[in-house]
Subunit: 178 residues, 2 copies
DNA sequence: CGCGGTTTACCGTCCAGCCGGTACAGTCTA
DNA sequence: TAGACTGTACCGGCTGGACGGTAAACCGCG
């Protein structure tokens, strides 16, 4: 029904974004992939921008629940670092495209939408680092962990090769050691 | 003349990208800002994609010379880290838009252009880390420095607030300590 | 129970505008 | 004379969004 269709649309948007980049995202393409007509899509998201905002919020929620789960399994700090290395091969593609999409509509029309998108983007990363922040008391150590995690993620984003796993494991141990 | 106009075009592209994001980049807008006619622009860059490729290459060259200069002043490792925190306020905007632009044309038409863009992107970051890599012999330490630098840059990219300068200075010292 | 009205969820079509790229004739300068 | 443009006119395709339906679900009420 309602929320189901919404999620199908968002999933379709995510897939198209990951597979073909931002230019391949058209209302028609998303609608087709979601098994909905263009009109139906517009019913759920009154504009393309609203659709992206919806996706951003969904990502934020996913990250929030993921981090809670990972923190329970590996501990908040280690979980934060492990979450930084993309598991699915197209995850990085998806996220660069998302950045692309958000940044693409910049400034031109509604500064309001833009501000919302920027805020959601920040929220996503806050959701990621929040459990770690809560668990690591030494601010210097927390900052170090935070930046290494972000660096790892960014490294994957721009297409640099992944560092040697053994080296990474050693780095994690060193940095997490108290 | 020739190369001068080329650079004016690239500078105009950069400005428009930083100010208005990817959608505001049109051949006409860039040409106008560069003080060139649209025909003149197309004379230098036969297509929009070629223009972006040119910009990517220019950024890579800038980074290369910047890093050489910074390495001479602060040392390669410290220079690398200092270079990670954006000085100009719109630098982050410019770079996210550039990522956006590169990622935007994904897959659809010419995989060749796409591959070139991805490679140039990687080259930019290799150019950034190269002097540091050469100066730091311990691979674990090098990796740590590298990821912290990337993390710092990424943090600025997504719009997270800059960390406390004092904390950052302490972190730099700790991480750079032999 | 049944019935009118309202809301929800969606469909399919149409249009206006924009943008990259082409074409080409002409101009300035060295 | 050639290279480095200018300026204009044009085209074809695509895309966001508006719009006018519509079928089914729901809801109060007599």
């Amino acid at each position: 029904m309602a929320t189901d269709t919404r999620q199908r649309i968002l999933a379709a948007l995510r897939d198209i974004l990951a597979a073909g980049g931002n230019t391949s995202v058209t209302l028609e393409a998303v609608a087709a992939k979601a098994g909905v007509s263009k009109g139906g899509l517009l019913y759920h998201f009154p504009s393309k921008a609203a659709m992206y905002l919806g996706l951003l919020a969904a990502v934020r929620d996913t990250v929030t629940t993921d981090m809670a789960e990972v923190a329970g399994r590996s501990g908040a700090a280690r979980g934060f670092l492990e979450y930084a290395v993309p598991t699915a091969p197209d995850e990085a593609d998806f996220f660069t495209s998302l950045i692309a999409a958000v940044r693409t509509g910049q400034e031109s029309e509604s500064a309001e939408v833009d501000a919302q998108a920027a805020e959601l983007m920040v929220d996503i990363f806050r959701a990621w680092e929040a459990p770690m922040r809560g668990a690591v008391t030494d601010p210097l150590q927390a900052e170090q962990i935070r930046l290494i995690g972000f660096g790892l993620y960014f490294s994957a984003l721009v297409g640099l090769p992944q560092p040697d796993p053994a080296l990474l494991a050693a780095l994690f141990d060193r940095v997490l050691a108290r």
